[in-house]
C-alpha cells in the first residue's frame, strides 16, 4: 500500500539526503570561491594598483566557474549513487 507513515518517513529521509548533497556542494563551492577571491586579492597586489583590473576580474569569473563545476561534479556523483541505492 502506498502512502502512510512509513512512506512519509522515507520521503522525508530522501529529502534530507538531497539537502545533504546540496550542502556538500555548497561547501566545495564556497572553498573554491574563497580561494578565488584570495588569489584575486593577491594578484591585485602583484599587478599594481588597479591597473590590471581585468585580470582580477578574469580570476574571479574563473573561480566562480570552478566553484559551479565542482558543485555539479560532486552532486552528479552523489545523485547517481542515490538513484541506484537510495540514501
Amino acid at each position: 500500500m502506498r502512502g502512510g507513515p512509513t512512506q512519509w518517513r522515507e520521503e522525508m529521509q530522501d529529502f534530507l539526503y538531497i539537502l545533504w548533497i546540496i550542502a556538500k556542494g555548497f561547501i566545495v563551492a564556497s572553498v573554491i570561491l574563497l580561494c578565488g577571491r584570495g588569489l584575486a586579492v593577491e594578484s591585485k597586489w602583484l599587478f599594481g594598483d588597479g591597473k590590471e583590473d581585468w585580470s582580477v576580474e578574469v580570476i574571479k569569473v574563473l573561480s566562480d566557474l570552478f566553484a559551479i563545476l565542482a558543485f555539479i561534479s560532486l552532486a552528479v556523483r552523489d545523485l547517481r549513487k542515490y538513484l541506484k541505492f537510495g540514501s
Binding site: M1, R2, G3, T6, Q7, E10, E11, D14, F15, I18, K24, I27, V28, V31, I32, C35, G36, L39, E42, S43, L46, F47, E52, S55, V58, I59, L62, S63, L65, F66, A67, L69, A70, S73, L74, R77, D78, L79, Y82, L83, K84, F85, G86, S87
Partner: protein, 1065 residues
C-alpha cells in the same frame, strides 16, 4: 585422555589447515566473495573525502590559472595561451577530481587490506587488535586462483558449500573466521595465527572438545532416526522441519554454552539463521548459513574468538556451516557486490544472542535497507534467475534434471517467495492467492521429497536426478505419498507437472520489465496516481508491454475467439501474458457447450503457417490445448526417452524444433544463417510444422521403429483434422524421411553426383526439398545446443544446394503426361465440378512436372478455371496478398517478349519481384506466377489502384497500350544499392534435351527481371521455363531458352553474354 583427544584434533587440524590454505581457501574465497564483501569505509571517509578532493583539485586549478595570468603580465605567455589554459584547466579539473576520488577510495580500501603470501587479499578490520598486525583476523575479498579444486579425502571433517558450488573446508578455518588453536600450550606445532591476543580461547577449546565425541554420537543417532522416518513414510515436509529443528537445538545449545562462558558476548552480538536454514528448509546435506550480527566493530572484535569456536564445534558435529559476520551498519548498506547476501538475509531468523539489540535496531535496519533497495534487489534476483534459466536452456523438461537448479526446481519456489516479499507493498505485481499457495505447497512437497531422497542416496549435496535415481525413486514412489511403485515414465510426468507449477508461479515476475530506478523527481514527489490505461472498447485483446492481454474476458467463452488469440500470437510473435493464459485456462475448464467448437484445420493451418507458430504452440501446450487439438501429442507429454544425445523430453524437443525454425527470421548465429533464406521462401509451412509436431510421436508407442508409430499417429490426426490427400501425403513423406538427410550427411559422400541424384529422386521436388532440409536442421538443432556443429550445418546446406541445383538442371526434361496422372486428374475433377477429365488433361499436358510440386490441387483447379475463361478474356490475371508479398498469376497464350512485358509493367509500378516462375504447356498456354513486394506501398495503401494495375497489365500484354510510359516511371535510383554480388552467367546445354539452361546470379534490384528478359527478347530468345528467386540481396534466375525451338548456338550465347554483361554492369 581428554588432552589426547585434543592433541589429535589439533594435529589433524594443523595438517588440514595447510591443505586448506593451499587449495580450499582459494575456492572458498571465490565462492564466498559475495557473502564476505563489505565496505570498510566510515562516514567521513565516504562523505568528506570527495568534498576535500574537489576543493583541492579545483583550487589547484585556479592557482595554476592565476600563475598563467601572472606570466601574461610578465610577457611570458600570450592571451591565446591563457585561454587554452583556462579551457584545459576546467576540463582537467573536473576529470581529475573524479579520477582522484576513485583512486583514493580504492587505495583506502586496499590500505585496510593486506595481501597474503599466496596471493589472497585479506581485508583487515579497522585496527581492533592490539598490535595492529595487518595479517591478523579478517575476511576475504579477492583471490587470483579461482577455479582451482582438488578432491578431498573421505575422512575430511566437513565441507562448506558457499552459494552453489561445493568447497571443502578442514578444521583450522571456519567460514570467514580463523579459529585459534592452543597447540603451543600442549606442545604441538602451532599453525600461523591470524587473530590478535585472545583472552579466553583455551577455556572454550578444552571444555567443548572434551564433550564433543559424546555430543556427536547423540546427534548422529537423532539424524539416523530422521532418515529412517523419511525412508519409512517418505514425508519430506516433516523431514526438512525435523532437520531444521535439530540444527536449531544444537546451534542454540552450543551458543548458550558459549554465552555462559563468555558473558561479554551477551551484549551486542546475535546469531541469525539465513538462507535455506533461515526459512527452515534444511535438507540432509544442505549448508547451515549463519550470520553473526554485531552491534558495532568493537563488539565484533571481542566476540571473534568465541564465534570461531562455535563454528568449529558445529563443523565437528557434522553441520556444514557457511558463516558470515556483519555489523548492523554494514547490513544496511546494499551495494552491487553484496546483493546476494541481502537476498539470503530476507530469510533471516533469530537463533540466539542479544535479542534486544536484534529487535530494537537490527530488524529495523534490515527492513529499512530492503525497502530502499527494493528495486535493485528485484532486478538482481530477476537477472540471476534469467542467467540460471539460460544455463538450463530455458526449459523445465530436462531428461536428467537438477531438482534444485533447473527451471521448475526448488530455486524457483525460493525466488518466487523472495520476489513476493520484496514486492509485498508495491502495486502492480502479480497477485498471490491461496489456491496458488496450495499448488505451490504440493509441488514443494514433491520436490522436497526428491531432494531428501537424492541427498540420502548420494550422501552428499547433489540434486541431479539421474536415470538410475529416476528408476529408484519411481520404484519407491518418492513424493507421491502412497508409497506405491510407479513406472519411471509415469513418475517423471508427475515430476514435470509439479516443476511446471513452480515455474508458472515464478514466470509472471520474470515477465515484468526489470525495475528501473525512479528519477529524482519521481522519488521525491511519489504520486499516488495510477498509470492511466486507455479504454479498448470493442476489442477482445490488446498488446501491453509486449504481451497480449485479454480485455474482454467474457468473449473468451467462444472458442473461436480463443483461437484467434493464438493466431495473433503466431502472426506477431507476441506471447500471451500469464494473466491472459490464466483466463483462457479457466474458460477451457468451464466451457460453454454451444460455443465450444473444435478447432478446424483451416484455423490450425493459419496458426501453423504464420511466422511464429512456436510462440502460439508453446502457449497451447502450457494450457493443455495442444493435446486437445492433437491428442496424438499427449503420448509424448513429458516423455523421457533415454538417449545419449537428447537433452530434453520428447515433447520439449518437438516444440524446440519449431522454435528453432521461427528463429530463422533473424538467424541467431552462423549455423542458422545458412537456412534463413530457405525458411523465408518455403511454401506450405503448416505442413512442415505439423510434421515436426508429429515426427517423434512414435517414441511414445510400443513400436520398434518410432517412424512407423509417428505415421500411424498421422493417420488418425489427418482423419480428424480432415487433411487433403496431398497434404497428408506431404506430411507423411516428411515424417518418413526426416532422418534421410542426416543419414546422407553421416554415411554418404555428398559431393558425389550419384548421391545427389539418388537423393533428388527420393525427394521429388525442390519445394519438398526445402521442407525436408528445414526439418533436418530443426531436428538436429533441438537435440541439444551443441548437436548442430557449424560444420554439420555447412554440410547440410551444401547437400541442399547441390540437390536444388540438380532439380534446376533436370526440370525441362521432366514433362507431365496427363495419362500418367490419373489420381491427380480424379482429384481435380472433384474440385472443379462439372468438367471432364479430358479437358483438365488437355490443360496439364506438357507442363513441367515441377508445376505439380509448386502448386496445390486447389491452386491447379483455380488455374484451370482461369484457363476455361480464356475465350472471353485472352489474358487472365489473379492477384492475391500472401503475408508480406503479393502474388500475381497470369495465364495467356505464349507470345514474343511476354515475360519481359510483364516484368516491365511490374517494374514500372515500383514492384520488386522476389520470385517468379513461368511454365508453358504443349498447347502454348503460358502460366506465369510472380511474387513481388510493393516497394512504395502503392497497392497496399490504395486498394483502388489494384484494379488499375490489373487493367494496365492486361492492356500492355494485349498490346492495347505501350509499355514505355510505365518504364519512364521507374526510378533512377534503381542502381543506388551498388553491386555487392558478383555477377555470374552460366550456360548448360546438357541439362535439357531441347533447351539451353542459363543461370544468372547477380545483385538484386527493382526492374532487374525486366532488364534481363528484354535482353533475351532482343536476340529472339524464347523463355520456355523461368525460375526466379531472391536470397537476401542475391538474385538467382534460371531460364530454359530456345531460339526457333532449338538450343542456343555458340554465337547466340556469346551475343547474349555480352548483352547481359552490359545490362547488368
Amino acid at each position: 585422555m581428554p588432552s589426547e583427544i585434543f592433541e589429535n584434533t589439533l594435529n589433524s587440524g594443523h595438517e588440514n589447515l595447510r591443505h586448506f590454505v593451499r587449495v580450499g581457501y582459494p575456492a572458498l574465497v571465490n565462492n564466498s566473495q559475495q557473502l564476505s564483501q563489505r565496505t570498510p569505509l566510515n562516514f567521513w571517509e565516504r562523505e568528506a573525502l570527495p568534498v576535500a578532493i574537489r576543493c583541492v583539485i579545483f583550487s589547484a586549478g585556479l592557482g595554476i590559472y592565476t600563475l598563467a595570468v601572472l606570466s601574461l603580465h610578465l610577457g611570458l605567455a600570450s592571451r591565446a595561451a591563457l585561454l587554452a589554459i583556462a579551457i584545459v584547466g576546467t576540463v582537467t579539473s573536473t576529470w581529475a577530481s573524479g579520477r582522484l576520488e576513485s583512486l583514493v577510495l580504492k587505495r583506502l580500501h586496499a590500505s585496510k587490506s593486506a595481501i597474503t603470501s599466496d596471493g589472497h587479499v585479506i581485508r583487515r578490520k579497522p585496527d581492533t587488535t592490539k598490535d595492529g598486525d595487518p595479517s591478523r583476523s579478517g575476511e576475504l575479498n579477492d583471490q587470483p586462483n579461482a577455479g582451482e579444486s582438488e578432491t578431498w579425502p573421505s575422512s575430511e571433517v566437513g565441507r562448506v558449500r558457499h552459494r552453489d558450488v561445493d568447497t571443502h573446508l578442514k578444521p583450522g578455518r571456519v567460514g570467514n573466521y580463523e579459529f585459534t588453536t592452543s597447540g603451543a600450550a600442549s606442545g604441538v606445532e602451532t599453525p600461523p595465527q591470524r587473530h590478535g591476543s585472545l583472552t579466553e580461547p583455551q577455556t572454550f577449546v578444552t571444555k567443548v572438545a572434551y564433550a564433543l565425541p559424546a555430543l556427536a554420537s547423540e546427534l548422529g543417532a537423532r539424524r539416523l532416526e530422521i532418515r529412517e522416518a523419511f525412508e519409512l513414510h517418505g514425508l519430506a515436509r516433516e523431514t526438512v522441519a525435523s532437520l531444521s529443528e535439530l540444527a536449531d537445538i544444537w546451534v542454540q545449545r552450543i551458543l548458550s554454552d558459549l554465552l555462559v562462558r563468555a558473558p561479554t558476548l551477551k551484549k551486542g552480538f546475535a546469531l541469525l539463521a539465513i538462507g535455506a536454514y533461515g526459512r527452515r528448509q534444511l535438507f540432509p546435506y544442505s549448508d547451515l548459513a549463519l550470520l553473526f550480527l554485531f552491534e558495532n566493530e568493537h563488539a565484533e572484535a571481542g566476540a571473534r574468538p568465541g564465534i570461531a569456536e562455535l563454528s568449529r564445534h558445529l563443523w565437528e558435529l557434522g553441520f556444514r556451516v557457511s558463516t558470515v559476520g556483519r555489523t548492523i551498519e554494514e547490513c544496511q548498506r546494499i551495494d552491487d557486490d553484496n546483493l546476494e547476501f541481502h537476498l539470503d538475509l530476507l530469510d533471516r531468523r533469530f537463533l540466539g544472542g542479544d535479542h534486544e539489540m536484534y529487535a530494537s535496531s537490527g530488524s529495523q535496519v534490515f527492513a529499512r535497507a530492503e525497502r530502499r533497495a527494493r528495486l535493485v534487489l528485484t532486478a538482481q534476483l530477476v537477472r540471476v534467475t534469467r542467467q540460471r534459466y539460460a544455463r538450463y536452456g530455458n526449459t523445465v523438461f530436462h531428461l536428467e534434471p537438477n531438482v534444485k537448479e533447473t527451471p521448475g526446481g526448488m530455486r524457483d519456489y525460493v525466488a518466487t517467495s523472495w520476489l513476493r516479499r520484496i514486492a509485498h507493498d508495491s502495486k502492480g505485481l502479480p497477485e498471490h492467492t491461496e489456491p496458488k499457495e496450495e499448488q505451490a505447497a504440493s509441488a514443494v512437497d514433491f520436490l522436497s521429497a526428491i531432494r531428501c531422497f537424492l541427498h540420502y542416496r548420494n550422501e552428499r549435496n547433489d540434486d541431479t536426478l539421474t536415470y538410475e535415481l529416476q528408476d529408484a525413486a519411481a520404484k519407491r514412489g518418492v513424493g507421491v505419498g502412497d508409497g506405491v511403485a510407479r513406472t519411471t515414465t509415469e513418475w517423471m510426468r508427475l515430476y514435470f507437472r509439479h516443476a511446471q507449477k513452480l515455474n508458472r508461479q515464478l514466470l509472471p515476475f520474470l515477465e515484468q520489465k526489470a525495475p528501473i530506478a525512479l528519477t529524482l523527481r519521481q522519488r521525491l514527489l511519489t504520486a499516488t496516481r495510477a498509470p492511466k490505461v486507455g479504454s479498448d472498447k470493442g476489442r477482445v485483446f490488446t498488446v501491453r508491454e509486449g504481451l497480449l492481454e485479454v480485455i474482454d474476458q467474457s468473449a473468451l467463452s467462444d472458442s473461436a475467439v480463443t483461437y484467434s488469440l493464438f493466431a495473433e500470437e503466431a502472426r506477431t510473435g507476441t506471447p500471451l501474458s500469464r494473466e491472459a493464459e490464466r483466463c483462457i485456462g479457466y474458460i477451457l475448464t468451464h466451457p460453454l457447450p454451444s460455443k465450444n467448437k473444435p478447432i478446424s484445420w483451416a484455423t490450425l493451418r493459419d496458426i501453423l503457417s504464420s511466422d511464429y507458430p512456436g510462440v502460439a504452440l508453446r502457449s497451447m501446450q502450457r494450457l493443455s490445448l495442444l493435446t486437445e487439438i492433437l491428442p496424438e501429442f499427449a503420448i509424448i507429454d513429458s516423455l523421457v526417452v533415454r538417449d545419449f544425445y537428447h537433452r530434453y523430453t520428447v515433447d520439449e524437443h518437438s516444440l524446440r524444433t519449431i522454435e528453432h525454425l521461427q528463429e530463422l527470421a533473424e538467424p541467431p548465429d552462423e549455423r542458422g544463417a545458412h537456412f534463413a533464406s530457405v525458411w523465408k521462401a518455403v511454401g506450405r509451412r503448416h505442413l512442415l510444422i505439423l510434421s515436426l509436431l508429429l515426427h517423434d510421436v512414435g517414441k511414445g508407442m510400443p513400436v520398434e521403429d518410432h517412424i512407423s508409430g509417428s505415421l500411424a499417429a498421422l493417420e488418425s490426426a489427418a482423419e480428424r483434422l480432415q487433411l487433403l490427400p496431398e497434404e497428408k501425403a506431404e506430411v507423411q513423406f516428411l515424417i518418413e524421411h526426416h532422418l534421410e538427410m542426416s543419414f546422407i550427411l553421416q554415411r554418404r559422400d555428398i559431393f558425389d553426383p550419384s548421391t545427389v541424384s539418388a537423393f533428388a529422386s527420393t525427394v521429388g521436388t525442390p519445394e519438398r526439398l526445402q521442407r525436408l532440409c528445414l526439418m533436418t536442421y530443426a531436428d538436429i538443432r533441438a537435440v541439444n545446443p551443441e548437436a548442430l556443429t557449424p560444420w554439420k550445418a555447412e554440410m547440410l546446406s551444401q547437400l541442399f544446394y547441390a540437390t536444388l541445383n540438380h532439380f534446376s538442371r533436370s526440370l525441362d526434361n521432366d514433362r507431365l503426361q496427363a495419362n500418367d496422372e490419373a489420381v491427380l486428374l480424379h482429384h481435380l475433377r472433384d474440385l472443379a465440378s462439372g468438367v471432364n477429365k479430358a479437358e483438365i488433361g488437355h490443360f496439364l499436358e506438357g507442363f513441367p512436372r515441377r508445376y505439380l510440386g509448386m502448386h496445390s490441387a486447389a491452386e491447379i483447379a483455380a488455374h484451370f478455371y482461369m484457363y476455361q475463361k480464356f475465350s472471353a478474356e485472352p489474358v487472365q490475371t489473379e492477384l492475391t496478398v500472401t503475408g508480406r508479398a503479393f502474388s500475381l498469376t497470369l495465364l495467356t497464350v505464349d507470345r514474343p517478349a511476354l515475360f519481359a512485358t510483364v516484368a516491365g509493367v511490374l517494374a514500372g509500378w515500383g514492384l520488386n519481384i522476389i520470385k517468379a516462375d513461368a511454365f508453358a504447356n504443349s498447347s502454348g498456354v503460358v502460366l506465369s506466377t510472380f511474387h513481388f513486394t510493393d516497394l512504395h506501398h502503392t497497392l497496399e495503401q490504395n486498394p483502388r489502384e489494384i484494379e488499375r494495375f490489373r487493367r494496365s497489365l492486361v492492356d500492355v500484354v494485349n498490346g492495347k497500350s505501350p509499355l514505355e510510359p510505365y518504364l519512364k516511371r521507374q526510378k533512377s535510383s534503381d542502381h543506388a544499392l551498388g553491386s555487392h554480388v558478383q555477377t555470374r552467367i552460366d550456360f548448360d546445354d546438357s541439362a535439357s534435351a531441347h533447351s539451353t539452361l542459363m543461370q544468372i546470379i547477380t545483385q538484386d534490384r527493382p526492374g532487374l527481371l525486366y532488364e534481363i528478359s528484354s535482353a533475351l527478347t532482343r536476340i529472339d530468345c524464347n523463355v520456355e521455363v523461368a525460375l526466379i528467386d531472391t536470397e537476401n540481396q542475391k538474385a538467382i534466375d534460371v531460364f530454359y531458352l530456345t531460339v526457333q525451338r532449338e538450343k542456343l548456338t555458340p554465337q547466340k550465347k556469346e551475343l547474349l553474354l555480352d548483352l547481359l554483361r552490359r545490362t547488368l554492369r
